[in-house]
């Protein structure tokens, strides 16, 4: 830590060390140098978010989050931007992974990033008026600004190239998302993604209407498959900020459910991957194997998904002896069946032909885009938050990180299958060593203006939550970066040069979380012009008929 500290010292105003966080205060003009230095030291970009202090101190504070995996240090670079001059140079040349985060900051806080390669809207809807930034504190959470017509922010293909829209309802995963493949013949030359159609303003709602104990339930609803990781990450962040030490039993229960969730999420993915290539027997069998996990979760928590057991200070339920026995029975059965499943996949030539050498993400590119989870591990990057920044009960448990160096969809499949078996071994360890004791502690008042970062290894990769506590019994800022957020940005690399037929599989291979859409793109064959229909126009069309 001292080495990094010394290097950054020259170009920063002040450096603080709080726990494992190194907080670097710097000037807007120096951000590029700071980023360059950090990247040279091997720091990995995590997220960029802002914090609105206009009413108190007349500035917006940018927070760049980096982490040094080997040293277990988080580096937060804090840069104040005066209200009159909300502009800073983009660091996308140095850190390409920042592109989406900068676009999001521009949308939600109105910070201008000079020299950004792609300054289109990312999060805000197309009919949102210019100059209204919803995450600023002067924007009331339930207000609805008037709609304003804007040109849709879609990439225009070059002359002679064709656009193939996949979506707005993504056919293979039966979820809505809008991918635009720009193709030349059979080959994909460029890729565009327009998502965030259901950006629900969860962060804003939490920051302006809910209290600390209500937010875990909202956080759990960020994702339908891996919701528990979000509520755990949020609770951990608040517990860290408020210095609350939760009972060991609660930590074990959290770890247990995190692993059960990874188990069923990966089995779901294996099924979907098989479904995409038309191997429906495997799809059905993978989902059948997954089902007992859902049953046991239902028996223990009352719900198949969105367990609703996390609160700040622990968990609300306790696990009985007979539940533990039942889990043991179920996971031994699953282990046996997953091994069979793995044999079927590995021996199948058709699957090999479809998966091998498809959607290659080279080691350097994976590093450049800071991808995480199975996607990173399939490109040979040894990163796993359970080992790098251990949380919950993981410091005590023994975890093996499966790696693969073949960098393609096949590698991602093998890594995920291995991870299922690793999860099973972790659950066995938890069942053996779960301690007795209380499952939650009472939380008294939480001090304002404390901040904390928490990581969780979600089934899809590294999940990041940042919380700054506030004075009104709720967080002043709560920022969430889901793993798919980084993995999406690497899709353009994976898709370039691939054929159209492989696109659904490559997109599926990162196990994306989708959002749904509100607009359709129609190409008029006679005039070859693009028409855009809004929801209202579509409603009118349907009524007219």
């Amino acid at each position: 830590m001292t080495k990094v500290k010394k290097i950054i010292e020259n170009i920063s105003d002040k450096i603080e060390t709080i726990d494992e966080n190194l907080i670097v205060y710097s000037k807007p003009s120096q951000i590029k140098d700071v980023a360059k230095l950090l990247v040279m030291q091997g720091a990995r970009f995590v997220h960029l978010t802002a914090n609105d202090f206009i009413s108190q101190k007349n500035f917006i504070e940018l927070n760049y989050f980096f982490s040094l995996i080997d040293d277990r240090i988080n580096i937060i670079v804090k840069i104040p931007l005066e209200k009159e001059e909300l502009s800073i140079s983009s660091i996308s040349e140095v850190v390409p992974a920042v592109i989406w985060a900068e676009r999001e900051c521009n949308d939600l806080f109105g910070v201008n990033f000079e020299g950004h390669p792609d300054p289109r809207r990312l999060v805000l809807p197309d009919d949102w008026p210019q100059g209204v930034h919803p995450l600023r504190k002067d924007f009331f959470y339930s207000s609805r600004p008037p709609e304003s017509k804007q040109p849709p922010p879609l990439k225009k293909p070059e002359e002679g190239k064709t656009v193939i829209p996949i979506g707005p309802f993504y056919p293979a995963l039966e979820e809505p998302a809008y991918f635009r493949l720009i193709v030349e013949g059979e080959e994909i030359v460029d890729f565009d993604y327009r998502g965030f159609y259901v950006h629900r303003g969860i962060e804003k709602l939490a920051e302006s209407a809910l209290n600390y104990q209500q937010i875990p339930f909202l956080a759990e609803r960020i994702c339908g498959i891996c919701g528990f990781v979000h509520s755990s990450a949020y609770c951990q962040a608040v517990e860290k900020a408020a210095n609350i030490e939760i009972p060991l039993r609660a930590k074990f229960i959290r770890s247990l459910f995190l692993e059960l969730e990874r188990l069923h999420s990966h089995l779901l993915w294996v099924g979907l991957a098989a479904h995409i290539v038309g191997f429906d027997t495997l799809f059905m069998q993978a989902w059948r194997i997954r089902e007992p996990v859902m049953y046991i979760c239902e028996i223990i928590t009352g719900n198949r998904k969105t367990y609703g057991i996390n609160i700040v200070g622990g968990v609300t339920i306790d696990i009985h002896e007979q539940h533990l026995k039942e889990i043991e029975k179920i996971i031994s059965q699953i282990e046996k069946e997953v091994r069979e499943l793995r044999e079927i996949i590995i021996d199948d030539e058709v699957i090999q032909l479809r998966f091998k050498n498809v959607g290659i993400l080279k080691h350097e590119d994976a590093k450049k885009y800071c991808v995480s989870g199975p996607v990173a591990r399939a490109s040979g990057i040894n990163i796993d938050m359970r080992v790098n920044f251990p949380y919950a009960a993981y410091p005590i448990l023994n975890i093996r990180v499966p790696l693969n160096k073949s960098e393609d969809v096949w590698a991602r499949t093998i890594v995920r299958l291995e991870e299922i078996l690793v999860s099973i071994s972790i659950i066995k360890q938890i069942l053996e060593s779960i301690p007795e004791g209380p499952t939650s502690v009472k939380v008294s008042k939480i001090e304002p203006w404390k901040e904390a970062i928490s990581y969780i290894e979600a089934p899809r990769g590294q999940l990041f939550h940042y919380v700054m506590t506030g004075p009104d019994g709720r967080p002043y800022r709560w920022s969430v970066r889901a793993p798919s957020y980084q993995n999406y940005q690497a899709l353009s690399v994976m898709l370039k040069g691939a054929s159209i037929a492989d696109a659904p599989l490559i997109i599926g291979s990162i196990d994306p979380c989708f959002s749904c859409t509100e607009r359709y793109e129609v190409i008029d064959l006679k005039t070859k012009s693009l028409n855009f229909y809004t929801v209202e126009e579509l409603k009118k069309c349907s009524k007219a008929k």
Binding site: Q213, Q214, Q285, V350
Partner: protein, 161 residues
């Protein structure tokens, strides 16, 4: 090639139909299932603890001259059960009922009226009848004088003493 297909065939043939014939055969819900809320109007004291804990903010209390109305807009309920844990009187109970589909959101609403008690001196409503009854029950000596003391609001008590 064929080896893998035969294995897949074996794996799928070993298992018969596993889907359940629901809704023709009812399913027993697990013990911890959190279903429809049930609120006991005779226990509720209108303390608004549930209002503060509800993550979906669906509980509201309206104050009127001689009664409080507690409204649960349960169409928005996420069935987390936090209100039942927060309730000091155990007036909210979580049942196992889960077949709640309806075409009218109003079917799920729960409205409870709590009678308020007026202060003997100033005549302002200050506490709920359920609360007062509870306090009277707790009294050691149930003399008229002691009971009347409870029927005076905090402000008048301060003025009187």
């Amino acid at each position: 090639m064929f080896k893998s297909k035969i294995k897949a065939l074996l794996l799928s043939s070993r298992h018969k139909k596993i889907t359940r014939p629901y809704p023709f055969v009812p399913v027993t819900p697990p013990e911890n299932l959190r279903g429809r809320l049930e609120v006991d109007p005779y226990k509720c004291i209108g303390c608004a603890n549930c209002v503060r804990t509800c993550p979906s903010r669906l509980i509201s209390i309206e104050n009127y001259e001689d009664e409080k109305i507690v409204i649960f807009l349960s169409g928005r309920c996420i069935y987390c059960g936090r209100c039942a844990t927060a309730c000091p009187e155990k007036a909210i109970r979580i049942t196992h009922e889960y077949e709640l589909a309806t075409d009218n959101k109003k079917d799920l609403e729960i409205v409870i009226k709590i009678k308020m008690v007026k202060c003997l001196i100033c005549g302002k409503p200050f506490t709920s009848l359920n609360m007062l009854n509870k306090q009277i029950e707790r009294l050691k000596e149930k003399t008229e004088e002691q009971i009347n003391k409870l029927k005076i609001c905090a402000e008048c008590k301060r003025k009187g003493s």
